[in-house]
Amino acid sequence: MTISIWRYSHLALAVSSFVFIVLASVTGIILAFQPISEQLEPYNVANLDNITLAETVTVFQDNYPEIIDIKVDANDFVIATVFTEDGNNLSGYFNPQTAEYLGEELKPSPFFQWVTNFHRSLFLKSVGRFFVGLCSFLLFLIAVTGTILIIKRQHGFKRFFSKIINEDFNQYWHVVLGRLSLLPIIIITITGVYLSLEKFDALPKTKTTHQVDFDTLIESPKQNASNFSVFTNTSLSEVKHVEFPFSSDVEDYFTVKLHDKDLLINQFTGAILSEVNTPKVEVFSALSLNLHTGKGSILWSIILAVATANILFFVYSGFAMTLKRRKSRLKNKVKAEDADIIILVGSENGSSIHYANMFFKQLIKQNQNAFIAEMNAYQQYPNAKHLVVMTATYGQGDAPTNANQFLQKLKEITNTKDLKFSVVGFGSLAYPDFCQFAYDVDQALQQVYKPVLPIFTINDKSVDAFSQWVSDWSEVSGISVTIPQKHLTIQPKQLKKLKVISKTKTNVDNTFLITLKPKKHHQFTSGDLLAVYPKNDYRERLYSIGKVAGNIQLSVKLHENGLGSGFLHSAADGDKIKVRLVKNSAFHCPKKAKQILMIANGTGVAPFLGMLQQNKKVESHLYLGLRTEESYQIYQEQIKQFLFDGKLTKHHLALSRVGDKHYVQDLLKRDAKAVAKLLYNNCVIMICGSLAMHKSVMSVLEEITVTYNNKPLSYYQNKQQIKSDCY
């Protein structure tokens, strides 16, 4: 497989360091709770911005005969060591305004110390520290390569945060969480590397050295420390450490460490004896430590913990994706030159390869001379009679990485003109450029070879659609091949038993409504899918759910020998059937839209019946395409009630076998101006029904938006204003 250098690096880095990364992450998550637990201690008693150093020094001098030092830690707790009147020393937290003793200094618990040790050196001292630092750097590189992969995937830096469609759990969350935790992870790794470098003396040495001219020290004019201008002009929040003079000798002085400079202060006059700025390296070290550990901020600690937990998920999901990809590797038994049937695959993440491989293996089982390869491996096939191209589309209608040279190679390398080809496009209607690359490939192939089938597109990895193509191809090629469906679907798990509570008779179109009662804890809404298992095996059939009065209402067309429809039709009131509820958030009624335009034909109206029933105040339009007035009867009562209750604003019915024979797209064309205006006003259009209807409706909408709004339809698709659920 051609894998881009970035993905390869991303994976190689992860493989080489994941053990250390997992260990560091687990301990890191635990350690995030240390600053949180410290911050929750009650020693932060005053806002240090509002207290001057002079106030604190004065109140301490009033209360204690001798003060050794006063410190302010990252939590803004004030720590001091003093002698009391009775000659004992007292050390711990103090109130900076009253000098009241608050409690003993928190010693890091042995547990946290143990974990910290493990986190930074794996108990291996310097060697361990080196490895942890190195892995921190590798993790930084992983984050960088990951960022590049996202930018490539999203086609540009500007689209970095635009929506990703959830096709695969691991992949989707790997990308989504990757984007969100990118910044914290980069901060964690850079500071981690920095802290390691510091341990290994790899940073420029800078020392603050004071020069005091002891010969010129004077004891007058004497001032109280409370009047030292340095002390009155410094707020406690700027202070790190104040060391009091060791004795009353004039050669002993105050040492004041602020965040940005070190000062030596004459203990009698308050004059600044020496002032040295804190070296940049030291400032950055302190910053690194706080950023890396979360010291001093509960919020940042929580962000660090969450980002670190995400790292663990990335390790898991990353490897899960890799294993899945490896499973879909291509293996051949015959040479390309000897093969009769050539299968070429264009796939970015391996899901199309899964289907292509199934097809390939079945051909091999039938003793066919089949050969499978990536599209970029296109070459001369002297013996080939059939060419099958199965490809996904990447990004904005582009070729997947392993197919990006195909169109060029097709021009350069020629095969016999008798080569018969068929193109299968994999994609999702949720993207604007549905199967665009497959269409391009089909066009290009038509120039040189003979199509045996028109291009075939498969939405959302539909098993049924794929089986349909296989049987079509089998027919035209004369090569009998079927793919057992159990290879394409996973055994259903966690089925629920639901009771049928009502069912209408079939109407003229053989359509009926069936209502099932869910259990209270079942979470679903209109637009979700209900899977039924007619034969109690791997074969599943999906139906769009309308949530009506809390129940599951389906609109089903009874097909002759229809597996799913026949099964539902034979169910009697009170029967319990095994089902699975499938969340389909891409087709949920948008919560924020102010206007909704619903377009359906036939049984596609089912989810809309539910959405309208749940509708409270949103302006809604329903375009419904049916055959005859009698077809309408089973929905009529519900829709009239919606209109009466104000849940449905406007209803348009297109009847395809009566009078002028209208389809929904004809009505949309008729109302073009109004539809354009609705889209302009951020209205969301939802389409449910047959793929043929979807295609016609989309082309009419394209025409409308271009004519009236001067925008391509993809503009609105990218704004999530078009939602579809078609079959």
Binding site: I68, T81, N89, S126, K199, D201, K207, T208
Partner: protein, 160 residues
Amino acid sequence: MKLKHISILSVLVLGLLSFTTLTESTKYKCMIQMTNYTGEGAYIVISLINPEGEYDKTLYVKGDDDEWYNTVEQWWQFYDKKQHNIDAITGATVSGGGRAIEVIDIEDSKIDAGYSIRFETAVEDDEYYINDVQFPLTTENIKGKHEGKGFIRYIRMMPN
């Protein structure tokens, strides 16, 4: 029998009481000024040394990560055997050029009695000085300034 018990008990109690009165002590301010060496913060152990030159007591430990205590080699053997609790007398390490002021507690009976005080220093992956600073505990000495041989430039002590 009972009477015997009581008398033993009273002897014990009296003994203990007299013992506590013996352990009168003084707190000293002790300032440690480091040389301008480069590298990690130094581990400094301040110990009381008896007239025979053996460790009597640990007075202070600068360095709170016991992972590195064994770098203070000589003291580590004593500490390891005793396993005494030093939580209350530990503080952070001091780096090159830095200084620290600590409070240490010395029993009055040890002054002018042949005992000395030892400052032992070690820096991880660097030198170790068994007696960076060491001097006899006399009334005179204890108020003075003492030069160091290793990581310590000098120490100053002062009774409170």
